[in-house]
C-alpha cells in the first residue's frame, strides 16, 4: 500500500506536485498513478489537474477513474488542487460540463465586465500570480499559516459552493471568490501549494499528517455525501 497517491489522469504536469509532496514527506511512499487499485488502497489521495474541464472529465472517464475518485473523496484524506478542486463540484460553465458531483455547487468564469480594480485598471484573466488567501476559520491544514498569506494562483474559473459551510478560504479578484473548501476529509484549493514556496510547503506538510475526525466536527456536509 502506498501512503500517498497522486492521481494522474493525463491532465498536465504532475511532477511539481509529486516533488513538493516528496519534499514534505520524505519518509512516505508517494506515487503518481492512474491505477484505480493503487488509488483505492492509498492512505491519502492528492487530486491535481490543469487544463480545461471537458478534457479533464473525459480523461477521468477514459481511465475508469470516476468511481475511485468519488470513493476516495468520501473516505480518506483527500486534497484537490486547481482543476482537481473544480471538478469535485456538480457542474462547470467551462464547456458546459457535468462534473463529479462530490460537492454541491458550480464552477464559473471570471466575468469579463467585472474585471476592473478599484482604480479603474483592467484585470487580466487568467488570474495569475500571488494573492492573499483569507481563512474563514481554523482548520488543521491552515496550521502555522498566517491569515492573509499569499499563495500562487493560475486559473480563469472559480467554484461557487451551494453550501457556505464548506468554504474554508477566499481571495479577491476583484470580488471575493472561494479558493479553499473543506469537508470532513476533503480539503481542496484553487491555488497551487506546490508552487507557493514556504506557505505551500506548510499546507502540504499539514495534509500529509492530517487525521480527519480527530478533534473535529464529524461532518459539515449534507448527509447525502457523508460516508
Amino acid at each position: 500500500m502506498v501512503d500517498i497517491a497522486v492521481v494522474d489522469y493525463g491532465m498536465g504536469n504532475l511532477r511539481s506536485v509529486s516533488k513538493a509532496i516528496e519534499h514534505v514527506a520524505p519518509a512516505m511512499t508517494v506515487v503518481v498513478t492512474s491505477d484505480p487499485k493503487v488509488i483505492a488502497e492509498a492512505g491519502r489521495v492528492v487530486f491535481p489537474g490543469q487544463g480545461a474541464a471537458p478534457d479533464c472529465m473525459r480523461e477521468i472517464d477514459a481511465r475508469g477513474l470516476r468511481q475511485v475518485i468519488i470513493d476516495a473523496a468520501h473516505s480518506k484524506p483527500f486534497l484537490g488542487i486547481c482543476m482537481g478542486m473544480q471538478v469535485l463540484f456538480d457542474h462547470s460553465e467551462e464547456g458546459d460540463t457535468p462534473c463529479l458531483g462530490v460537492l454541491p455547487g458550480t464552477v464559473q468564469r471570471f466575468p469579463h465586465e467585472a474585471m476592473i480594480d478599484a482604480e479603474g485598471n483592467k484585470l487580466k484573466v487568467p488570474h495569475m500570480g500571488w494573492n492573499n488567501v483569507h481563512q474563514t476559520g481554523p482548520h488543521p491544514l491552515w496550521a502555522g499559516i498566517e491569515e492573509g498569506e499569499r499563495f500562487y494562483f493560475v486559473h480563469s474559473y472559480f467554484v461557487q459552493p451551494t453550501l457556505p459551510d464548506v468554504i474554508a478560504g477566499f481571495s479577491h479578484y476583484p470580488f471575493p471568490f472561494t479558493c479553499a473548501v473543506a469537508t470532513a476529509n476533503i480539503f481542496a484549493v484553487q491555488f497551487h501549494p506546490e508552487k507557493s514556496q514556504n506557505a505551500g510547503m506548510a499546507l502540504l506538510g499539514n495534509f500529509v499528517t492530517w487525521n480527519p475526525g480527530e478533534g473535529e466536527a464529524a461532518c459539515d456536509m449534507s448527509g447525502a455525501t457523508c460516508a
Partner: protein, 251 residues
C-alpha cells in the same frame, strides 16, 4: 490583492548563467542552481531560464539544471529556448518546468502554440516576443533578434493570445542590456491590447524602472537579469522599493 510579480531571468548557455548586451557580448554570471536558490530565498515570485546554448551537444544540460532547481525551489519555473515541437514542451515539463516559453517556433509554426496549449493547458504556455521599433510601430524578430519577420508586434500579441498563450514575455531589443529602462510605450500598447498577463523585459537598470514598467507600462510582471546577477540590487530590495511606491508585492 494580486501582487505584481518580480521575475529574475537566467540566460543559460553550456550550463552557466551569462548576460549579454543587445543579445551579444556574453559575460559569465555563475552557476544556475546556486543563483536560483539565492533568488528563491530573496523572495523571487518566479524564475525564468532562457537556454541560449548554440550547439545541440549541450542542449540536455538545461534539463539537468531544471531537475536540480525543481527539487528544491517551489515557485513557478519558466524555461524557454530551442522549443520547436510539442515533444520539447513535454521534455521541459517532465524535467520540472511549470511553464514553457516559445519564441522563434511560434513565428515559424503558430499552430505549435495552439497544439501545446490544447495539450498541456494555456497556463503553461508563455509566448516570448522579441520586438524592435521600426518607424511608427514595433516589429517581431526571431532567432535571438537576428531575423526580422515583418510582423507587427501588437497584432502578433493578439494572435498569440487567441491561439492559447497564457502569458506573453515581451522583450524590447532596443532596450535589452542597455539599462535605460523598459520600452514603456511598447509594453503599454501590448498590455492594453490583450487580456492575458504581460511580463515586461529588456532594459532594467535601476529599481525605478521596475516601478515604471508596472505603472506606465501596465505590465503584470517585470523581468530583469543583470541588475540582480551582478549584485547591484537584491530581489528583496527591489520588492521593498516597489512597495514604497504603492505597488502591491509579495514580501
Amino acid at each position: 490583492m494580486l501582487a505584481k510579480r518580480i521575475i529574475p531571468c537566467l540566460d543559460v548557455t553550456d550550463g552557466r548563467v551569462v548576460k549579454g548586451v543587445n543579445f551579444v557580448e556574453l559575460k559569465d554570471a555563475g552557476d544556475p542552481v546556486e543563483i536560483a536558490r539565492r533568488y528563491n530565498e530573496a523572495g523571487a515570485d518566479e524564475l525564468t531560464f532562457l537556454d541560449i546554448t548554440a550547439t545541440s551537444d549541450n542542449r540536455d544540460l538545461i534539463l539537468h539544471i531544471i531537475e536540480a532547481v525543481a527539487s528544491e525551489v517551489f515557485i513557478p519555473l519558466t524555461v524557454g529556448g530551442g522549443v520547436r515541437a510539442v515533444a520539447d514542451v513535454q521534455r521541459l515539463l517532465n524535467a520540472g518546468a511549470d511553464k514553457v516559453g516559445i519564441n522563434t517556433s511560434a513565428v515559424l509554426n503558430p499552430q505549435l502554440v495552439k497544439d501545446a496549449a490544447d495539450r498541456y493547458g494555456s497556463q503553461c504556455i508563455v509566448v516570448a516576443i522579441d520586438s524592435k521599433r521600426v518607424g511608427d510601430h514595433w516589429e517581431v524578430f526571431t532567432h535571438g533578434g537576428r531575423t526580422a519577420t515583418g510582423l507587427d508586434a501588437v497584432e502578433w500579441a493578439k494572435k498569440m493570445a487567441s491561439l492559447g498563450a497564457g502569458e506573453l514575455l515581451l522583450t524590447s531589443m532596443d532596450r535589452d542590456g542597455t539599462k535605460s529602462g523598459f520600452d514603456l510605450e511598447l509594453t503599454r500598447a501590448i498590455s492594453d491590447a490583450v487580456d492575458i498577463p504581460i511580463i515586461a523585459s529588456g532594459g532594467v537598470g535601476n529599481l525605478q524602472h521596475l516601478v515604471d514598467g508596472i505603472r506606465e507600462g501596465h505590465a503584470d510582471a517585470v523581468l530583469a537579469a543583470s541588475i540582480f546577477h551582478f549584485g547591484e540590487y537584491g530581489v528583496d530590495e527591489a520588492k521593498r522599493y516597489m512597495k514604497q511606491h504603492g505597488i502591491e508585492v509579495r514580501l
